[in-house]
Point group: C2
Chain length 223, copies 2
């Protein structure tokens, strides 16, 4: 065989499914931040055994999507503003680079997909479907990250964004944020399409800083 292509179709295991299910539940805000989870309850709700659940919980804890204190069980992290800021700062370091690299290497086909996702977000932004706003934004970014040429960067970025998913959905519901976000994302797209790395980096940086201040505003009004 000339190359080592991975044809394996990963069989879905109970523990993997559980990780995905719980991850989605956390993203969607199904659990209150700070609330504690009880193993036995989760087991019956998910219809799985305790060992399987506990394995899933270890995975989520390693991803920092849940806190896991010995003898106290799992709980949903209650992020402080300092932590959220720290995450946004690291995200900036990575995302600016990802956008810059993407501008230099994205293919025409992928650029078209990026444009499509931007159009999709445009529709979502003018509607009131807050879920659609999130998913379309994620599509936009995942295309950029997938084309930055660095899978590790992609992976770390995904992990960081996951940890602040709640704040993102809240701030995206803020009055006018979606419209501003759209303009910023258009600027990023234009710069990438033009292959202008510097402009792409600048547009990306601006976008993140605005997203961060929107998240701060959302966090203050919420509480």
């Amino acid at each position: 065989m000339s190359q080592d292509i991975n044809l394996r179709v990963s069989p879905r295991t109970v523990q993997q499914e559980t990780v995905n299910t719980l991850r989605q539940a956390i993203f969607s805000g199904h659990f209150e931040p700070g609330s504690r989870l009880v193993e036995s309850q989760l087991c019956t709700q998910l219809g799985i055994s305790r060992p399987s659940l506990r394995e899933a919980l270890r995975s989520l804890a390693a991803e920092r999507l849940i806190d896991l204190v010995p003898n106290r069980g799992p709980s949903i992290p209650n992020l402080t503003w300092e932590e959220v800021t720290a995450i946004y700062e690291v995200r900036e370091m990575l995302e600016v680079n990802a956008v810059g690299r993407c501008s230099q290497r994205i293919s025409k086909e992928q650029l078209q997909d990026l444009e499509k996702s931007l159009v999709a977000f445009e529709e979502a932004a003018s509607s009131n479907d807050s879920l659609a706003r999130i998913t379309t934004t994620e599509d936009f970014y995942s295309i950029i990250l997938a084309n930055c040429g660095n899978p590790i960067l992609e992976e770390i970025h995904r992990g960081l964004v996951a940890r602040i998913s709640l704040f993102r959905s809240r701030s995206m519901s803020l009055q006018g944020r979606a419209i501003n976000s759209l303009a910023e994302m258009k600027a990023i797209y234009e710069a990438i399409a033009a292959g202008d790395e510097k402009a792409a980096r600048n547009a990306s940086r601006k976008h993140i800083l605005n997203a961060m201040s929107a998240a701060k505003k959302a966090m203050e009004t919420a509480t």
Copy 2:
């Protein structure tokens, strides 16, 4: 109570101990890259039960320190040079920023500690103790990362460095690498001590690029 200090002394659980033990074993090269681990063997070697081991394995898999393919069990990742490069690139994005931030905010006490760790590395570099070279280097960096003012940056950086620990120890054994590394680290220290952010970032960037090419050389000669 005036403040919410965390007095909890986290009780060490079997699963935590196992994660640490296995992590150390992986770092020290106890397992051949690409080799497969067998649950039952690990259980008897570690003297623990299979559920505990499996929980530990999930944590390590989430940290990407082991691969975990369903129905095939855990194995030590066999990193390709592309992956190692990708990790070094992301490490550069983060570390350069960490060093720059550190130069602007480190305290005098911590700066002294940093100098001490540099001296310690100097000794280790002139000796033949390759283990000491690694640990003193880690001390040096952990002080910098601890003083960059961003715990997330610290955490992500640690995770990345962990994944390439084997390459680091190999490249540090390379003829002359320790001496060069010392000069580069001195430059970083000087810039931080002088509070010169730009110089600190430049020195940091140079150091990482050199470390990367040393790792590449080590990887080619090894195989």
